[in-house]
Structures are given as C-alpha cells and as structure tokens.
C-alpha cells in the first residue's frame, strides 16, 4: 500500500516527538525507519530489560509494538493533530531471546478519526530474525491539538 502524508514535515515531527519520550531514551530505543504509513523502532538488549529468564521482557516487546504502531499512524495525520492509542491486542509468539528487538508497524487502514495498524516485533539472535510478537491496534487522531504544544497550530 502507498500512502500520502497530510503533513509534509511528518518525518521531523515524529523524530522530535520521539525524542521527547523519556521512556524511549531510558530503555535505549532508537527510531530506525519512518515513511508514510510505516515506522520501525529498534532496541538493543541489556540486562535491565529482562524478564525472569533473562530474555527481553514482554513489557518491552509491547512497548515497541505500541510505539511503532502509534508513529506509523501519526505519519499520515495532519500537522495540527496529536495521536492517541485507543487499544491494541498483542500475541506473543516466541521468547524475546536475542541481542536486538525490532518492531515494524504498517498502517492497514488510515482514517480521518481512526487508523488501524499492524505492528510486528522481531527478535534478532546471531543475525537471524524471528517473529516474536504480532499486534493489531487502533489509533485516534485528536484534531486541532498539536503533539507539541505551541506548535503545529500556527
């Protein structure tokens, strides 16, 4: 699918929004890909992100799925809007056993109010990627409420 962004500056808008998320910096997440209707986020393994068996914690996997889905949808929204996660459903498919986590989210259906995305999370071990989780999520655009207060509504 090919999508046409409503905000020509979507790339900067999203990189700037991402950089304001304290949690992304804290867990070491990096925004590694943005294009209309798509977002990719990566996070290298560290012990602080583990569950009880030493693998990536499901909370980290869910966080990447949620955040990549949100920004994938946000690429298609107008400049003066902000975005809200309405809900998501996540199936955990394989243990988060590896040195890197990559979440790739694709918009399935954009809409003025609601957008549907499909994030997929892969775990990389010795260079091989395994599908670790798949999600289905609903996002909402809040119109005339720019993501960065004081901007966008100019």
């Amino acid at each position: 699918m090919s999508f046409k962004p409503l905000d020509p500056d979507f790339n900067n808008k999203i990189r700037e929004s991402f950089s304001r998320q304290g949690f992304m910096g804290f867990i070491g997440a990096e925004l590694t890909g943005i294009r209309p209707g798509y977002c990719e986020i990566q996070i290298p393994y560290k012990r602080e992100l583990s569950q009880q068996h030493g693998y990536f914690h499901a909370g980290v996997i869910g966080t990447l799925a949620d955040n990549s889905g949100g920004y994938a949808a946000f690429t298609l929204m107008p400049a003066d809007s902000s975005i809200l996660t309405v809900e998501y459903k996540l199936n955990l498919i394989a243990p988060g056993d590896g040195e890197l986590l990559i979440s790739r989210a694709q918009v399935i259906k954009p809409g003025r109010t609601l957008t549907i995305c499909r994030p997929e999370v892969f775990v990389v071990k010795n260079g091989a990627q395994t599908l670790c989780a798949t999600a289905l999520m609903t996002l909402m655009a809040l119109h005339e409420k720019p993501d960065r207060p004081g901007e966008g509504s100019r």
Copy 2:
C-alpha cells in the same frame, strides 16, 4: 471468586520470580499485593517513564497490566510449572497523568492449560484514583518446566 492455590508456596515463588525480572527493578515497580487469583503492582512516576507530554508512557501501563495479569494467573499454577503470556488486549481509557500507577489483575477463569485474567490499571493523582486502562489476557501454564531452573521440580 475464591481460588485454591495448587502451590502452597505461591507467594514466595512469585516474589522471587519478580525479583529476577531486571525490567521491574529498572522501572521501579513494586509487587504490592498477592493472593490466590490476584496480583497488584505499583510504580511511582519518574520522568524516565514518560511519553511526549510527560505522562506515564503507554508502554509502562501495558507492562504493568501484562505483569500483574501474569502473576495473578501464576498464583494458581502448580509448583513445577512456568507461565507464558499468550496474548492480551489493552484499552487505554484515560491519560497516565499522576504520581503513581497501580495495576490490579484478577483471574476470571483458571484452567489447567489456559487461564484468563482481567488487569485494570489506575493512575493516582493527588490521592484520587482514575481507571487508566483495562485489559483482557490469556496465559498458559508450561507444566514440568519450573520458573526457576533447578527448583520447583525437586
């Protein structure tokens, strides 16, 4: 509902498992309540847990929902089993605007293989609690695979 745990030592087992989750210590989560079929986890606000508007990040909210649901189900599982999150669905209902996040998860339907839980996440602001997210999740018991390698199977 009243549930009878299969493992009389469930409380210690869960506290010990929780303490091995590097991610819980890293984000500052505390296990504040366990009883058969129930688990409560809290996390005080810090800037490192924020999204772009300074509220608790949805990833943190999802992490607490997932983890409290997992341990609620684990209270009812036998000593020699470990637990796996199959999937969950989370509706975000109000912004995570407050000084404390509390997740309370209740088992709705226990089962030998699958258990269904309902985690609810509240945000506390100036002492008042607001429902911030509600989830519905499916957990699976892995029998004869104790959570702590070398133990449980004794």
Copy 3:
C-alpha cells in the same frame, strides 16, 4: 456505575433499531433488558445455531456479545447519532452447551466519540448459568447521522 442518557427516548430508539436487524429475527434473538449503559440479549437454542458438536456456534456467541455491547453503548448516545463497532476481543471460556444464551453488556467508560463496553455471555443448562465468553469492545458514535434515516435529526 450510574449513567445519564442523553436521549430520553433511548429505550424506544434501541427497540426499534433492534427490530430492523434482520439477523436478530432470523436467529431468534430477543432484547430482554435495556437501561442506561446496559443491554441484555437472549437466544434460545435451536439446531440451526450449532457448531459441529451440537453446541451454540461461536459465531452466535460472538454475535450476541457484539450486539449487546453495541446497544449498551447506544443507550448513552445522543438522539441524532448512530453507532459503529470499532473492534472487539472475545475470549471463549466454556462450550456453548445449553438451552439458552444470555449476553449482558455493561459500559465501562462512556465518551463523546468512543465508548468502551464489557459484554459477558452466559449459557444456561438446566437452569444453571455458566460464563461462556467475555469480551472487551470499543464503539464509536457517529454524530449527526441518526440510526434511522429521516428520523432523529428532526
């Protein structure tokens, strides 16, 4: 929870809408309870509603959950709006083995645009009720688009 309906005529509006759903009559469903934020629908067993083992088909269980959730949300919406199911998640908990299916849906969080509901489906066998399925769903109000064309917008 107690809710205040925006449309004082919500009861008639919903009964009339339900009666226009060809599928409800076809499967023999009856609207057995409406109050603000709540809806109950029942359906007696017949062979035509069965899956391969003779129980109520999961499709019938899902249909009742969806429809009761939709009308529970619709009780709280204004007269000139119609309603759309955004999404739902359904956990099937016990086989639909019995003579009657009852779905009861409760609004958890009403909103101007989105409303969150929790439908629960019970199966009745020899008079005893068993929880058969539980759901979590998101509904959207379409404002200034009345459910019944030509009415509501008067």
Copy 4:
C-alpha cells in the same frame, strides 16, 4: 509460508466437520478454499443476515472470521485432535455493504498446542472487493479428542 499438514486427510476432515455445523447451512455459508494453513469461506447476501441499515450484520462478519480462522488452524492439526477457539480480536474496517462476503484466514504461527491465525474479511460489491474486517486469533488443539466422535482415534 508453506506448511506441512500432519493429517493427510485434512481436506475431507474439514469439509465433513463444516457440514455438521448447523449454523453454516442456516446462514448459507460455503467452504470455498482449503489448503495447509489456509481456509476461505463465502456467504452471499440475504436480507436475513442484515443489521439495521441493511448491510451484512457484524455478527455474520465475525462468524466468518472465526470459522475460517478455526479451519485454517485445523488443517495443520493431527487426525486425532479437535480444535477450540481460545480468543479472537476483530477490527471492523468498512461497512458490510455488498452482495457477497469472503473470509480468508492464514496461519501466522502453528504450534503443537496453540496456533495463531489472521482472518481477513472482504465484502464484494459489483465485483469489487473491499477489506471489511481484519482479525487476530488464537486456537488450541485438543489432542486425542477427534472432532468426529468415534473416528480419528481409530
């Protein structure tokens, strides 16, 4: 993805199981495609399947999604097993406005106990297909409990 069925007779097993579902005959559903990890079901429009505006009822859409997902998973299960829908989540994306509904379900991740599927429902109007709903679902194999009593366990 290419999958290898454990039961060489999976095609007949599924057609026979489908024919025993009273609900499929009642609503006029036809099994139009089976291969390993995949199932397609169609249903022509009739007034008895409508919601209040005359379109296909969401309950019918959900029924097709659920049933196609179940049989897609069942293609990969051994002869002596039966299948259970654990849960599914369905996003309704476009109104069911058309003369035919087609559900196509694909296995994403097969497993000995749990299988994950992705059903997609299309509505056909004047020959053009529109994505009407997308789902994500979890199925469970019940081993040594054949779908057809008295058979499979031979």
